[in-house]
């Protein structure tokens, strides 16, 4: 009898984690779908087939790199050139993954590997600002749910863009371009309200990014802003934070 009720409890707490993950991942979906559709449209115009452009979303799952990749394919750039540019643009995920995986130390490797592969700027930002779940039982289900909803919206959106072409009026799709930035702001502000010093870290990272953009590619500039901005945290956040 006791085991039955205990089983029930685990199922319901698992369901709860998944539900919370989907809810928290919903804004990512809102931001991804229009951008993915735009990617699909552009990639089609760049000469990729529907299968190729969808496959790229399935295998690469990195917005900025895919836009750039499609663009470079259209311009007739070489494979090596495109692959190196992708690496540079996405290297920031190394730093982000290091930070996120360090929080998930207690989670099983077999869950951490797919979670790391689903890491994007957006899934990282949302996951990191919900650190509490990393310590909870079955917390990985929360992160998996939010990563999966982001992944599926990206893949489905790309496919739709490839099929439907210009479905969204340009003015609307352009306005959608603010969505992910607004989400980043919506994630950052509550943390700043809780602890003002966190805002200084973000502002230092912005400034470093701006300075580095003068003499390096945007990919490396974001890496520099993230790494050095994070280092400023050593002086700004004195004590160990949970």
């Amino acid at each position: 009898m006791e085991t039955v009720s205990k089983n029930k409890q685990t199922t319901s707490s698992s369901a709860l984690r998944i539900k919370r993950g989907l809810a928290v991942g919903f804004p990512i979906m809102l931001g991804y779908i229009p951008i993915a559709i735009t990617y699909g449209v552009l990639a089609k115009q760049a000469g990729l087939s529907l299968t190729e452009l969808t496959l790229m979303s399935v295998l690469v799952f990195a917005g900025a790199s895919q836009f750039m990749g499609a663009n470079m394919i259209a311009l007739g750039a070489g494979a090596v050139e495109i692959i190196i540019a992708t690496f540079v643009l996405n290297f920031r995920h190394f730093v982000m993954s290091l930070s996120f995986m360090n929080r998930l130390r207690t989670v099983d490797l077999k869950w951490k590997i797919p979670l790391s592969l689903g890491l994007t700027d957006e899934t990282f930002a949302v996951s990191s600002l919900h650190p509490k779940e990393a310590k909870e039982d079955k917390g990985f289900l929360f992160y998996s749910a939010l990563t999966l909803i982001a992944y599926l919206s990206w893949v489905v959106g790309s496919f739709l863009g490839g099929v439907l072409g210009e479905v969204i009026p340009e003015k609307l799709s352009q306005s959608m371009g603010i969505a992910l930035y607004a989400m980043f702001i919506g994630l950052l502000i509550p943390s700043v309200k809780k602890e003002l010093r966190v805002g200084f870290i973000a502002i230092i990272a912005m400034l470093i990014n701006v300075i580095c953009l003068q003499f390096m590619s945007s990919g490396w500039a974001i890496v520099a802003g993230t790494v050095l901005g994070g280092l400023s945290g050593l002086f700004i956040l004195k004590e160990e934070r949970a």
């Binding site: 990195a62 190196i84 996405n90 290091l98 607004a182 950052l188 870290i201 701006v210 994070g230 160990e240």
Partner: protein
């Protein structure tokens, strides 16, 4: 050829994401490294927001800036992220219509 490019892109995006999983599994970090890694999300958000937000409308950088300010205000008054996103989209849409 395109397939080869896609596979190459896949490999170079997967490696930076997955390698830290094994690093963290094998190593214990010193206290300052942990603190650095805990500050990374805020730094990443900063670097991702600015100056990228200015390119929402490449010809009119102020549009992204206004959209960002609307997002700051909506987030500050405590709205859920979804409404922050919708509010910013609507304000940018209205600005482009003007």
């Amino acid at each position: 050829m395109i397939l080869l490019i896609i596979i190459g892109m896949s490999v170079v995006t997967m490696l930076p994401r997955v390698i830290p999983t094994f690093i963290v599994d094998k190593l214990q970090f010193k206290d300052w490294v942990n603190r650095w890694l805990n500050a990374i999300p805020y730094a990443a958000l900063g670097a991702l927001i600015f100056p990228g937000i200015l390119s929402v409308n490449a010809d009119k950088p102020h549009i992204g800036l206004v959209g960002g300010l609307v997002a700051v205000i909506l987030a500050y008054i405590g709205l859920n992220v979804i409404f922050v996103v919708i509010g910013a989209i609507v304000s940018v849409f209205l600005l482009t219509m003007l």
